[in-house]
């Protein structure tokens, strides 16, 4: 990997090595002619290539992201920093962001997933916040070959390996399976932190003469061009990509976390700004810190702590070694900061200074190796307006007849449904995550949303991630609305008012106009839902080029949503509590079979148009339900998702010894319809009158909780009695059994 003889600027112009690094000829020419007025040298070309990659610059997605609402009275920090911050009152804020690590995880699943978690944690504590929870949204191929099993085992182990060691509980997330993710699994991680509003930090380097300090692990040659690697389609020539693999060191990160939080909470007067070194390492963190403050910067690369010998300037700047942070420290406090980090056994070194001229100046072995305007790396990126085209499958879609399951043996179908990996118990995975450390986890994995109490207050937050590929694939706009709505219903079902979201937009190759159309439509749908719900998008991440050997994944936006419970005691779970409690279905059930689990189970694919719905109505319904809960009318609540009402009902009694007797006024097949925005709640008999009055026609009585361990289901065209112990066993054993089988 060592490049002993670097090409001269002339050679670069002729041999165009930048094409391989993801920079186009047009961009190169623009840089040389318009931005610099000369040919960039080797190091400079490398810096441009990585900073102008989609991963760092969002040049292809920026315009689309502007559709998202990102402000309201609660937003303390929107997009543009390490993470967003939302006000929860009492001078406190919740800090959160999600990040994808799809490509690294496809290549090296354990370390890819682990370093994804490590990276998102750094984003949170770089804001000055104490990380308190992790979530992960994972999408894999069907569990039918050893490669997929290996990917699943390793990704799950990597997530647990990092989070457990850090002492940050992994409290929620999701795992779904579909063949489209076989070669390109999605690994999205979200981290949530808490902060006193007076301690909020920014990633900025301002004040001429202030020090730029490097803290944490030493720099090695790991992950050179990781950012561009994440931004290009990759095929089977993985061999050449292997240098992009980084190894996580959670112990180092734990030390870094504690040291940084000591600095940000107790010694704010020493600190001007702080940012983590994530994608594109030192170059992106340093030039972004300078750019945000409108400053210039000079760095002495010889001072950068190095793990390997003979690293070039290019390698030092582009390395993606993990567990490193960059600080801007007020001149005169360098020694204090050094001492603080040394006490944790960490390196802290002055590597540069803030300068007046807005230039980015790098020196290595006594020579100037880079001298370019800061803004040329960060602000002058050529934004690309993308051509959009409606995919053929969407145009043809409306000509297809609407698919119906037809008359079903409901009991048998339900038993099979409970064994679909996307629906079946994920306990064998979530059990490997420490979900309780920090002892705030009121509701952990396995519920609609996780609930964490906020110490020293009566409050709690609820957290969920929901990625939705199948609906977005069929109709990106409506699918985008559903993705956000689904997250909101999960929070409401937990008793929380939705506050704000983060997202990971996992899409295919943006050079494909069809992918661009999908992205744009999905974002529009998500934005519409966010506006209606008043849940601004306060942070997020875009992951494009999710395809392998030319096939794109389902366009899969992941929504990470945070909600608030004013009183933690109001939290709800799906599990019903008492015999005789009345069951209500909230929301109308339609013939929504396109994109459902039943469609996949019976036909092997997803097809057909989605039915649109009114966001205004959904929001009203959710507000009423929250009110019912605040008035203490609900014993349990569960939102309906994969598998519709049939599956949701079984889920009410998986964790107790009770049974259900239910009767609905629609056909058996509709028990599996996945009309969005529905809930099933249980209400104690004495509260039924008040509940009905409040909910009006939105709530329909469908049955009650019984003491007999079975689920009795009556529908228009039949009746089924399901043995719940048997159902539970099928649901529990499905994934362990698939994971154990051999090819």
């Amino acid at each position: 990997m060592t490049i002993k003889m670097e090409m001269s600027p002339q050679e670069i112009k002729q041999k165009k090595p930048y094409l391989e690094w993801g920079l186009s000829e047009k961009e190169y020419d623009y840089i040389a002619k318009k931005l610099l007025g000369r040919l960039p040298n080797y190091t400079e070309t490398g810096l441009f290539a990585v900073m102008w990659s989609e991963h760092c610059s969002y040049k292809k997605s920026k315009a689309v992201l502007r559709e998202f609402p990102n402000k309201n009275a609660r937003v303390l920090q929107g997009p543009g920093e390490g993470a967003g911050i939302i006000d929860i009152g009492d001078g406190q804020g919740i800090v959160f962001k999600a990040e994808s690590h799809n490509h690294p995880s496809a290549v090296e699943p354990y370390e890819g997933a682990a370093t994804g978690v490590g990276g998102i944690i750094r984003d949170i504590f770089s804001m000055g916040a104490r990380p308190i929870a992790l979530l992960d949204s994972l999408h894999f191929g069907e569990i039918k070959d050893s490669r997929t099993r290996y990917l699943i085992n390793e990704v799950v182990a990597g997530i647990g390996g990092y989070g457990n060691c850090m002492g940050i509980p992994t409290v929620g997330g999701e795992i779904t399976f579909d063949e489209c993710y076989a070669d390109n699994p999605l690994v999205n991680a979200m981290c949530v932190g808490i902060i006193a509003q007076s301690k909020m930090q920014k990633g900025q380097a301002k004040g001429v003469g202030n020090a730029v300090m490097y803290v944490g692990a030493k720099t090695g040659r790991d992950g050179i061009h990781g950012a561009t690697f994440a931004s290009t389609d990759f095929s089977d020539e993985r061999e050449t990509q292997r240098s992009a693999v980084q190894v996580g060191d959670p112990f180092m990160e734990k030390l870094l976390l504690e040291a940084c939080l000591l600095l940000t909470s107790k010694h704010q007067e020493w600190l001007v700004g702080i940012q983590d070194m994530g994608a594109a390492g030192l170059v992106s963190s340093s030039c972004e810190m300078a750019s945000k403050a409108g400053s210039g910067m000079i760095l002495e690369l010889d001072n950068v702590p190095q793990r390997e010998d003979g690293m070039s300037a290019y390698e030092i700047m582009l390395s993606e070694s993990q567990e490193r942070m960059l600080l801007c420290v007020r001149a005169g406090f360098e020694e204090e900061v050094k001492k603080l980090f040394h006490d944790f056994g960490l390196d802290a070194v002055v590597i540069g200074r803030v300068t007046e001229k807005k230039d980015y100046l790098l020196k290595h072995h006594g020579q100037v190796v880079t001298n370019i305007p800061v803004a040329s790396l960060t602000d002058d990126v050529l934004e690309e307006s993308s051509r959009e085209k409606v995919p053929a499958r969407i145009i043809k879609r409306n000509e297809q007849p609407t698919w119906h399951p037809g008359q079903l043996a409901v009991g048998d179908v339900l038993c099979k449904m409970l064994q679909q990996p996307t629906i079946a118990s994920k306990r064998i995975f979530t059990e490997t995550y420490d979900s309780q450390v920090r002892t705030n986890t009121v509701v952990g994995p396995g519920s609609d949303a996780a609930v964490l109490r906020i110490r020293q207050t009566d409050k709690a937050i609820a957290l969920t991630t929901d990625g939705n590929g199948r609906f977005v694939y069929l109709d990106p706009f409506i699918g985008g609305k559903i993705a956000v709505l689904e997250a909101a219903t999960n929070l409401v079902a937990s008793g929380a008012k939705p506050l704000a979201i983060t997202d990971c937009l996992n899409f295919g190759d943006p050079n494909d106009p069809e992918v661009c159309w999908e992205l744009h439509q999905a974002v529009k749908g998500m934005a519409a839902a966010c506006r209606q719900l008043d849940t601004p998008v306060i942070s997020g991440n875009v992951s494009l080029y999710n395809e392998s050997n030319g096939t794109a994944i389902f366009p899969t936006p992941m929504v990470g949503m945070v909600g608030l419970l004013e009183n933690v005691r109001n939290y709800l779970t799906p599990t019903v509590k008492s015999v005789g409690a009345q069951l209500f279905l909230i929301g109308k059930t339609g013939n929504d079979f396109a994109g459902t689990e039943i469609q996949k189970m019976l036909t092997g694919k997803f097809s057909g148009p989605l039915n649109d719905f009114s966001l205004t109505d959904e929001v009203k319904k959710m507000e009423k339900l929250l009110q019912a809960n605040q008035e203490g009318l609900l014993e349990s609540a569960h939102d309906l998702s994969e598998g519709g009402l049939a599956v949701a009902l079984v889920e009410l009694v998986l964790h107790n010894q009770l049974g259900l007797s239910v009767s609905v006024d629609f056909a058996g097949e509709q028990l599996f319809s996945e009309t969005p925005g529905r809930f099933v709640v249980s209400v104690a008999p004495q509260n039924v009158a008040a509940f009905k009055k409040l909910m009006g026609t939105d709530a329909v009585l469908i049955g009650e909780v019984t003491s007999k361990r079975e689920c009795e289901l009556t529908y228009q065209d039949g009746k089924t009695v399901l043995n719940l112990e048997e159902a539970k066993r099928l649901w529990e054993d499905a994934i362990p059994c698939l994971m154990k089988s051999r090819d």
């Binding site: 290549v107 090296e108 090695g220 292997r242 693999v245 190894v247 060191d249 793990r307 390997e308 056994g345």
Partner: protein
């Protein structure tokens, strides 16, 4: 008679070994400044039955399929005498 082989697996040179670093620090602070570096590796002792026609082939196959992660690691092996 059976054949025994030992497969040594180590991180590639360029890959960071956080364990080795932490152990090095611990050894040094225990009063052994003469120890410059500790690296960690693992080994697999593989017992093959005597009918194995091509020992090298088996060893290479199981290493490549299962025992070694080529993203991060390399391996070599040696045949052990019968113990």
């Amino acid at each position: 008679m059976a054949v025994k082989a030992r497969i040594f697996v180590t991180y590639k040179e360029s890959v960071f070994d956080p364990q080795g670093q932490t152990i090095t620090d611990a050894v040094q602070s225990l009063g052994h400044p003469e120890v410059k570096k500790v690296n960690v590796g693992k080994f697999f002792d593989v017992l093959l039955d005597s009918t194995t026609t091509d020992v090298a082939e088996t060893i290479n196959e199981i290493s490549e399929q299962l025992l070694v992660n080529f993203n991060l690691e390399t391996y070599r092996y040696e045949l052990l005498e019968e113990g």
